[in-house]
């Protein structure tokens, strides 16, 4: 429905810089997710797209039109908030109808549009209730219905599922993706939950300290991280990052030795390996240490091995069990190793 271009966006409050040098081109109908820890600038960036904050510098363009000086109410965007933001004095019907009234949609179309939006989120039985009489999941669906009722050009969703329990969150995730695909509306979604980001996004924008760290598809972000921040932020447990020395293609750190690495770099580097790319024991182990912790989860076992002072996470088989401090070896999948510059954190080719 709309293409959004953010060019050289900066946002600062006095000496505090919230967002710096943000450049993104969001395609029409794309589902893009801003992911990052609290305070990384993702919500501020979304609020600037909504018109709720003014950028200090840079341009926001929607479908070729510069939006910087256009009020939030005059931008064709709909926003879903973390706290639902349903109007407590109105029934769910009136809440969903509110944007239609404000945008001057002819009155005779209201009822049909409200009921259609409510059907979309399976909320038709609750239209005459006040928000206070609904559960968290129902309130979130009501907020979604209010966003979709007038079919805006852009959906903005600010951590819409963070107040829901895990089961409901999963169900709502599926529903949000379904609605977005059905309505084909460009969607910007903010979250700090990597599972939400990975499952919903066409592309993920990873942010830290107000700056973009990487933009890519979920596969690119997971398999081809640009730096140690991205590598450690995505994945559960996160990627193991081991600081050591590289000499003549051999990486060494206390208790760890990986030879024959296809790289010409040398010196201080950080080696990255995901827990699922580690195998307990194996033919020619790269790590020798002791068992620090064993956490069975049912479908697999999380094993923590101590090598030198470093704790390495390994995803072991569901049957794996070991006693504390037992000597253990781990083999790395050499095709899934990553090397990063220890000083800058950037990925080495």
């Amino acid at each position: 429905m709309a293409r959004i271009e953010l060019t050289e966006i900066q946002k600062s409050w006095g000496a505090v810089q919230g967002v710096r040098d943000v450049n993104i081109d969001i395609a029409d109908e794309e589902f893009i997710v801003f992911l990052g820890p609290s305070g990384c600038g993702k919500t501020t960036t979304m609020r600037m797209i909504a018109g709720l904050e003014d950028p200090s510098e840079g341009r926001i363009v929607m479908d070729g039109e510069v939006m910087n000086d256009i009020d939030a109410r005059d931008r064709d965007v709909a926003m879903v908030f973390q706290g639902y933001a349903l109007y407590p004095n109105m029934t769910i019907y009136e809440n969903i109808r509110f944007p239609l009234r404000m945008r001057g949609v002819p009155r005779d179309q209201h009822d049909a549009k409200v009921r259609r939006a409510a059907e979309f989120v399976e909320l038709t039985d609750y239209l005459d209730r006040k928000p206070g009489a609904l559960s968290g999941g129902q309130r979130q669906r009501a907020a979604l219905a209010r966003a979709i009722v007038r079919q805006p050009q852009v959906f903005l969703m600010d951590e819409p599922l963070s107040n829901l329990d895990a089961k409901l969150r999963q169900a709502m995730r599926v529903q949000i993706k379904h609605i977005q695909r059905e309505l084909k509306i460009t969607t910007v979604y903010v979250t700090h939950d990597q599972i939400e980001a990975m499952t919903l996004a066409d592309r993920i924008v990873i942010m830290e300290n107000g700056a973009i760290q990487q933009i890519g598809t979920p596969d690119q972000i997971y398999n081809d991280p640009a730096n140690t921040f991205v590598a450690s932020f995505i994945g559960s447990p996160p990627m193991n990052l081991i600081e050591g020395k590289l000499e003549n293609g051999a990486f060494r750190a206390p208790g760890i030795e990986v030879a024959n690495l296809p790289t010409r770099h040398s010196g201080a580097v950080t080696l990255g390996i995901r827990p699922e790319d580690c195998t307990v024991a194996g033919g020619s182990p790269h790590l020798s240490g002791t068992v620090y912790g064993v956490e069975p989860t049912g479908d697999l076992t999380y094993l923590t091995v101590k090598a030198g002072e470093k704790l390495i996470e390994v995803k072991a088989s569901r049957e794996y069990r070991a006693s504390m401090n037992k000597p253990e070896t781990v083999t790395f999948d050499l095709s899934r190793l990553y090397l990063f510059d220890t000083t800058t954190g950037q990925r080495l080719s």
Partner: protein, 281 residues
């Protein structure tokens, strides 16, 4: 075991009712005493000996309605109070909205200045107020009473409503903006309904202050055209008849009734409003 628990629960309930009943009686005693004074003959009230079985008399009732324009006093009171509360709300709601939801230079100073108007003794401004109203030709009018009551109460009405507005999540306004609403619509359709308990609380307190106001009413009102109930009380003292206690008691009771009825009618909102205000600080 169950019967023992039931018995203990019953005893605890009786104790609770006894304590609450005792407290209610303590609070109502002055009102009932006033009513009893108002409905007794004057001779019984000023006697030195206690009277255990007082006689009932409507002398004072007839006197206040027949010898004095009490209906006019009552009407003046109600008109001045309602008018002043309306003026207060019309001014205080936008002021509170501005103080609570917008950032601008000097905002906190303006808020403190508004509150500081309550910090001086009213008598200090009595003479300037008198000359001001005289110059505007408003002396001895209901309009002057409305304005002065509104001016006296405006600061705390603003601050009470402001404290409620501060508690409304910013997200509600942001949602309304992205839904297409302007500032006036947001205030009218989102903010005011959300702070209604605070508006009601502030209005009732303003009414109580207004009905009890004496100094400025005495200064401004000089004829029954503008006399209110509080000033009417002074009619029953110092004349050739001396202090007419039963008439004073009855007029005081009549002044109490309208506020009491308003409080009863909106009790639910008021208790919620007062509790919320307590939490907000």
């Amino acid at each position: 075991m169950t019967s023992q628990r039931k018995k203990a629960k019953g005893e605890s309930l009786t104790l609770r009712y006894l304590i609450l009943g005792g407290w209610a009686l303590f609070c109502l005693a002055p009102v009932l005493w006033f009513l009893s004074i108002g409905l007794r003959p004057r001779t019984e009230i000023i006697t030195a000996q206690p009277i255990y079985f007082p006689s009932f008399s409507l002398d004072a009732w007839h006197m206040i309605w027949e010898d004095w324009p009490m209906a006019a006093y009552l009407r003046n009171s109600i008109a001045a109070i309602i008018g002043s509360v309306i003026i207060d709300l019309v001014l205080a709601i936008p002021a509170a909205y501005s103080l609570s939801r917008f950032s601008y230079k000097g905002r906190d100073d303006i808020g403190f200045y508004i509150l500081s108007t309550r910090m001086m003794a009213p008598a200090i401004v009595a003479v300037p107020i008198f000359f001001l109203f005289r110059n505007f030709g408003l002396l001895d009018t209901i309009w002057a009473l409305m304005l002065i009551y509104a001016a006296i109460n405006l600061s705390f009405v603003t601050w009470i409503i402001r404290s409620y507005m501060l508690d409304i999540p910013k997200e509600l306004e942001d949602a309304a903006k992205t839904d297409g609403a302007g500032e006036i619509r947001i205030l009218w359709e989102i903010i005011i309904p959300a702070v209604l308990p605070g508006i009601i609380t502030a209005s009732v307190i303003a009414m109580i202050f207004a009905i009890n106001e004496f100094l400025f009413t005495l200064l401004i009102a000089s004829t029954p055209d503008a006399y209110t109930m509080s000033v009417a009380l002074s009619n029953f003292t110092g004349g050739s008849d001396g202090v007419i206690y039963n008439a004073i008691a009855l007029v005081a009771f009549l002044a109490f009734v309208p506020v009491f009825l308003v409080v009863v009618a909106i009790q639910k909102h008021l208790s919620r409003g007062l509790t919320m205000g307590a939490l907000k600080g």
